[in-house]
Symmetry: C2
Subunit: 143 residues, 2 copies
DNA sequence: ATATCACATTAGATATAGTCTAAGTTCTCA
DNA sequence: TGAGAACTTAGACTATATCTAATGTGATAT
């Protein structure tokens, strides 16, 4: 996605396209690494040092509220962030904490009645388990 | 589950059945509220003040490691804990952060290949969305 | 043009959640 | 009964994230 498209997607949600906000969004769209806020802060300031930690947090909050970014909480670790592009599920490794995207596929609804009145957010779910590196026989590097 | 059964389940995993640890486990088994560590600490000490915060955290860590308890991370909030009884999925409300159990049902695996070498943990997943209270028309109390 | 005002950024203080340390206690088993 | 392992504890510490108050920036009206 080009600069103009990012700018438009920001403004479509009522957010100004500031250099700092743009940098966060652009970085999230070009990576598939599900970075933490600290990693985003570093990446943005590596290119052109011009965003504070507070602004990085502010912008991440705004982008999540605007529905452009998803935050993924992980037990005992910093939250990770993911630009919402195409619908997809997530997989989090129980051992190293890495987050991976899983291509979208339809999941059946829970037993009728058990989710009455609840609105599932597009039925995107989080799977847990051991990633390729951490599974027995894998390279098993701790992240 | 009675006291003896809790004691046995602890010792089966190699953990001593201390009063503090027993209290944490018993509280988690009798509630369906997915409490935070602070709530567990308070509940335990309300009955008989005899556990420190550090011990509560230590025991929660031990119980999670032993596979008797599940920790559920939530963006921007304290982790919540859940005694693993019968297999079940989880639902987390995007608005109030409440966690609900969803009765177990089989989910189809992701598209073949997309999880190569990954090991799904029993295919229990976390759904996201709006709970009954927070959905439009619901009572909408913030938790 | 420029005044105004809402939106945005910033450094640093503060809050919250959770971990570590070092000392003491209790259990187990030889 | 003594030794070592497992456990508990208060309080210090760390990590993550939010808040505050001052400053900066850009859109709009006049």
């Amino acid at each position: 996605m080009d600069a103009e498209a990012i700018k438009r997607s920001l403004e479509d949600t009522g957010l100004r396209c500031t250099p700092q906000r743009y940098a966060v969004m652009a970085f999230l769209m070009e990576t598939d690494q599900h970075p933490t806020s600290a990693e985003i802060f570093e990446a943005v300031n590596r290119v052109d040092p011009r965003s504070s930690r507070a602004t990085t947090y502010n912008n991440l909050r705004d982008l999540v509220q605007a529905g452009l970014v998803r935050e993924v909480a992980i037990e005992g670790r910093a939250a990770r962030f993911d630009a919402k592009g195409m619908r997809h599920h997530h997989f989090i490794c129980d051992r190293c904490g890495n987050v991976e995207d899983i291509d979208w596929y339809d999941l059946p609804s829970p037993a009728p009645g058990s989710l009455d009145k609840r609105i599932l957010r597009e039925s995107e779910v989080i799977f847990r388990g051991l990633c390729a590196k951490c599974a027995p026989g894998g390279a098993s590097r701790q992240a």
